[in-house]
């Protein structure tokens, strides 16, 4: 072997960064990355110096100042003497509330609608197509306005409930009032309440905790009872009846606790300008919830439909060959397999719905955008800080949702063999 035959270890030359295809792509990526970072740095630096020059450096201490404004729909205690930070928290909870309610109903609408969309009944499937096309092809904001204005224009005013022969009456044995300002539902009350625990940010009802604890214990006992029954069955071949005992184990202690606590239903009643008492779902909340659910529902209908259609027809045929009824075929054979196609689409619809809930500001529902990005931003003049915070919060919510859904997806997805 001669020396010449050994390939010389190539010396690295700078020009290779451009001419050598081994390095070229890395070079390009590094250059682009540097340019992008420089651009971002330039913009951020520009904003920071200019804001400072204007006498408005970026600071977040305004969150501790008194908010001085009121919020109508709130899940936790709040008054105008609380801080902007707390107002933001109230807004955040309102966003989460409407997003949660919306996701649940949109899913229900979507799953039922998706199955009906594939129905063999011509009328039913056409109706579903009509629903999807109408709601999907008109901007969501308009649907929210339609819901809001239908409610405020058609539902009676609270004062219509007044007088000897009122124009409007309450529904369901005088327990529900539907007004153009919102719907008032009956609320659970306890005459011998255990009070609340203050955990700093909000109050937790001890009654609720007690009920949950008793319920949990009941379920635990029932489980134990079923296990015992299983054991007896394996030992003797006879299975003792468990249904009655289990129900009793769960229901009786809870009922007993309710009686002890003096549980009763509080009905809303007209007092002055408005109804008082009961649970109030304000008109903006209802309009936003309906609008979001109906709109997002259409996308879920399509997701469910495509998911079902993606399941091999052989599966349905095999199921019917085994004599399984169509309804059970759908729920036991097709839907579980369709899920792995549906879920990723569902994730993005949940994310959309949550972000779209920021349209709340248009109809006066005090969500995160209306509090932090609306009144707080306006009254304090901290545009930059508020927008940055808003983005961070929405990003966090979205990541949490998609993280959670991805985890669920991992669990239900088909294990390929």
């Amino acid at each position: 072997m001669s020396d010449a035959a050994i390939p010389q270890a190539e010396r690295f030359k700078l020009s290779m960064l451009i001419y050598d295809s081994r390095y070229r792509s890395a070079t390009i990526q590094a250059v682009v990355l540097t340019l992008v970072l420089a651009f971002v740095f330039w913009i951020v630096n520009n904003a920071v110096t200019n804001l400072a020059a204007l006498g408005k450096p970026i600071r977040f201490d305004f969150l501790g100042d008194t908010a001085s404004y009121d919020i109508n729909q709130k899940l936790i205690e709040y008054s105008s003497t609380d801080s902007h930070g707390r107002a933001v928290l109230v807004g955040l909870l309102n966003t989460l509330l409407v997003a949660f309610m919306g996701c649940v109903t949109a899913t229900v609408i979507g799953v039922i609608g998706g199955v009906l969309r594939l129905s063999n009944n011509w009328l039913v499937s056409r109706l579903m197509v009509l629903y999807v096309e109408i709601f999907r092809n008109v901007p969501l904001l308009l649907w929210i306005f339609v819901c809001m204005f239908t409610l405020t224009a058609l539902a009676p005013q609270p004062r219509a409930f007044r007088g000897e022969n009122p124009e409007a009456t309450m529904k369901l044995w005088d327990s529900i009032a539907i007004t153009n300002r919102g719907i008032y539902l009956p609320e659970p009350l306890f005459s011998r309440s255990l009070g609340n625990i203050d955990i700093g940010i909000f109050l937790i009802s001890v009654d609720l905790l007690a009920i949950l604890a008793v319920l949990g214990a009941g379920i635990f006992a029932a489980r134990w009872n079923s296990k015992r029954a299983n054991a007896i069955q394996t030992a003797t071949g006879d299975r003792p009846k468990t249904l009655g005992v289990n129900t009793a184990l769960i229901v009786v202690p809870v009922l007993a606790l309710l009686v002890i606590l003096g549980f009763h239903i509080g009905k809303p009643a007209l007092a002055g300008f408005n109804f008082r008492g009961g649970i109030n779902m304000s008109a903006p909340l209802i309009a936003l919830w309906l609008g979001l659910s109906l709109y997002t529902g259409t996308y879920i209908v399509e997701a469910v439909r495509s998911g079902i259609q993606a399941v091999n027809k052989g599966q349905t045929e095999a199921a019917s060959a085994l004599g399984i009824r169509p309804g059970r075929t759908m729920s036991l054979v097709v839907l579980p397999q369709a899920m792995r196609i549906i879920i990723p689409q569902l994730i993005s619809q949940y994310l959309n719905l949550t972000k779209n809930s920021s349209l709340a500001i248009a109809i006066g529902y005090m969500d995160l955008v209306s509090t932090l990005g609306g009144v707080t931003l306006n009254q304090t003049g901290r545009e930059m800080e508020c927008i940055l915070l808003l983005m961070a919060i929405y990003l966090t919510i979205s990541l949490l949702i998609s993280g959670g859904m991805n985890w669920y997806n991992e669990r239900v997805k088909l294990v390929e063999r």
């Binding site: 404004y69 408005n274 006066g364 003049g381």
Partner: protein, 338 residues
């Protein structure tokens, strides 16, 4: 979408520095017109007429500026701003000034970095309710639903008023007058509250004005006036002294009818200095000597502007009240032209 807002804000902030460093008056002269921020429609103060032109009390002050700077009261572009976005529009340089029923408050002046240069209308917050409710005082509003426009001093005063009086209420926040009016007429709220002057305009525009009453309580001080960006004193001076000229004109009896005559010279040195036949006040402002003559010729003096747009013979029907001249028991007063 969030991203766009973010970059918009950043770029906006970038513009801020550009705008505030440069002299606004020079920019305006280069551009050939003033960008004046007005409301999206407050009858009497700023609203479009049937031809789509802006008319109103605040609009006339913008026109006076156009006349003073360009000798053309139409050299103004009106930019309609909601209560919410007005300060951002001002600080980002989208408008040169606000004549937008904007209340002069400490935090807006100091913390929001706007500079208020005068008060063209002394106002206060009032309440309007349907007569049918039988309410005669704001103290009887316990538990009522109240329509308010967000981004205003109104929503803060409202919270204070109800808290101080130990009453509760349900706020229904809305983005602008049009929506608020619609919700109020449909009974989605019992009470409509805003500046008393605007309330009169809103009431006049309702389908059946006689079915509503304005309650006697005025619960706040709302000195409304022009606002400019912090840090450009030359431009602030121009806006301040054009407005002062209109008030001083009423004080000294100069009107749109006689201003041309008086501009030739009178035996009142104050009038002469203001109208430019003596001294060089106009040049000190960076304007022509006859800036005040043009402004007054275009829109009249303060009293004329008031009577034409919101006075007792208009549908708005406001009395001069606090806005009478100081010599007649009101608060309108111009520092001397000397």
């Amino acid at each position: 979408m969030k991203k766009t807002v973010f970059f918009g804000a950043l770029v906006g902030a970038g513009l801020v520095a550009g705008a505030s460093a440069a002299a606004t008056l020079d920019d305006i002269k280069d551009r050939g017109k003033i960008h004046c921020g007005v409301t999206e429609g407050t009858l009497g103060f700023s609203a479009r007429d049937s031809e789509g032109n802006h008319q109103g009390f605040d609009v006339d002050f913008c026109r006076a500026l156009g006349a003073a700077i360009f000798n053309d009261s139409d050299a103004v572009e009106y930019i309609e701003l909601s209560s919410k976005n007005r300060f951002t529009a001002l600080s980002s340089g989208q408008v040169d000034l606000l004549y937008r029923t904007t209340t002069w408050t400490f935090s807006r002046d100091v913390d929001l970095k706007t500079t208020f240069v005068g008060i063209n209308y002394y106002d206060g917050q009032g309440f309007m309710v349907p007569k049918e409710l039988g309410v005669t005082s704001a103290k009887e509003l316990e538990g009522a639903t109240v329509c308010i426009e967000t981004g205003t001093t109104t929503e803060l005063n409202l919270a204070d008023f109800f808290r101080v009086n130990g009453m509760s209420y349900e706020p229904l926040p809305v983005g602008g007058t049009t929506e608020a009016k619609a919700l109020f007429e449909e009974g989605a709220c019992d009470v409509y509250t805003t500046d008393a002057s605007a309330l009169a305009g809103v009431r006049a525009a309702l389908k059946d004005p006689a079915a509503y009453i304005i309650l006697p309580e005025i619960v706040s001080k709302e000195p409304l006036g022009p606002a400019v960006r912090h840090g450009d004193d030359e431009w602030a001076d121009v806006v301040r002294w054009v407005q002062n000229a209109l008030v001083a004109a009423e004080e000294t009896g100069v009107t749109s009818a006689n201003v041309a005559e008086l501009a030739k010279g009178t035996d009142n040195p104050e009038i002469n200095r203001m109208l430019g036949s003596e001294g060089s006040l106009g040049a000190m402002l960076g304007l022509d000597a006859d800036f005040a003559v043009r402004a007054i010729a275009a829109v009249g003096n303060y009293g004329e502007i008031f009577e034409r747009n919101i006075g007792e013979n208009t549908p708005i029907g406001l009395a001069r009240g606090l806005n009478a001249l100081w010599t007649e028991g009101g608060l309108q007063y111009s520092p001397p032209f000397r």
